[in-house]
């Protein structure tokens, strides 16, 4: 039996099992911590975790608001990542069309990708669309509506599978 509860009678359910759960609190038994919580192991936050806004009244669902994938890609030569998160590979779909393939996909292709062109040249427009639950594609054109290679930053929001 694991250590499962601190009740009015003190610590109960003590176990010396190596994988014992240290503490369990039911939904009616919150835990309040005034000091700093330091976690050196993996700290898993569930999809029900919320954060209170700076105003102190409204809350937001943490996992829903996190960026699920991002990459800076330069297509001046064969497209290559210059930094990324949750991107397994990049597909070179043609001039100005890098297509990041995600390591962990979204639950559907209904994500919200955003993009920024990093070039200093004026007139570049970059668009980005989902091509599947685990991939997205940006398209960069110049002021003549011609596809052009460029350095592009991409980010994706949505719900992971």
């Amino acid at each position: 039996m694991a250590l499962t509860k601190i009740g009015k009678e003190g610590i109960t359910g003590v176990s010396n099992a190596a994988n014992a759960t240290f503490l369990t609190a039911t939904s009616a038994e919150g835990v309040t911590l005034a000091g700093t919580l330091a976690v050196t192991g993996v700290h898993t936050v569930g999809s029900n975790a919320v954060a209170t806004g700076a105003g102190g009244s409204n809350t937001t669902i943490i996992t829903a608001g996190l960026c699920k994938s991002w990459v800076e890609v330069d297509t001046a030569t064969t497209p290559a990542s210059e930094g990324s998160f949750n991107v397994a590979s990049i597909t070179d779909g043609g001039v100005g069309e890098p297509q990041p393939q995600m390591t962990s996909p979204l639950s559907s292709a209904q994500g919200v990708p955003v993009a920024n062109n990093n070039e200093s040249a004026s007139g570049f427009a970059v668009m980005v669309t989902m091509t599947g639950a685990g991939s997205y594609r940006s398209i960069t054109r110049n002021s003549s509506n011609t596809l052009v290679d460029s350095a592009t930053s991409l980010a994706l929001f949505g719900d992971l599978a």
């Binding site: 990049i90 597909t91 070179d92 043609g94 001039v95 011609t146 596809l147 290679d149």
Partner: protein, 122 residues
């Protein structure tokens, strides 16, 4: 991180396994055969012509201004010179040097810098 390349026909190869052209000027004309990617000449010529059209657009607009000024000044010599320049710009995509180019190098050399300005392929 792995990069995959898709050619003009949708064929895919891991970039590190492929031999690719030295530049991306005709990237959308890339054609994969085995592990080698080459530039399809016919598709490259279409890309080249689009580049010519892109380059000539602002030149034609500027030449329209030149012609209007010559018209206002009743300068027939200037009008004729402007008409000649505009005709050269309109004819640029149909240059025989493009149609007759036997390889990518010749195609790049087909850029008429006297008409279109500096070559993007230099």
């Amino acid at each position: 991180m792995t990069t995959n390349i898709i050619d003009k026909d949708g064929n895919s190869i891991v970039a590190s396994d492929a031999t690719v052209p030295s530049d991306r000027h005709f990237r959308n004309a890339w054609s994969l055969s085995g592990s080698t990617i080459t530039e399809d000449l016919t598709a490259s010529k279409l890309i080249f012509k689009e580049k010519v059209r892109e380059a000539r657009t602002p030149l034609l607009t500027a030449e329209d201004v030149v012609y209007m000024k010559a018209l206002e000044d009743a300068d027939t010599d200037a009008q004729a010179a402007s008409v000649k320049k505009k005709k050269a710009l309109r004819d640029a995509p149909a240059a025989s040097a493009i149609a007759n180019a036997a390889n990518i190098g010749a195609l790049k050399s087909a850029w008429d810098k006297d008409v279109l300005g500096d070559s993007p392929y230099a």
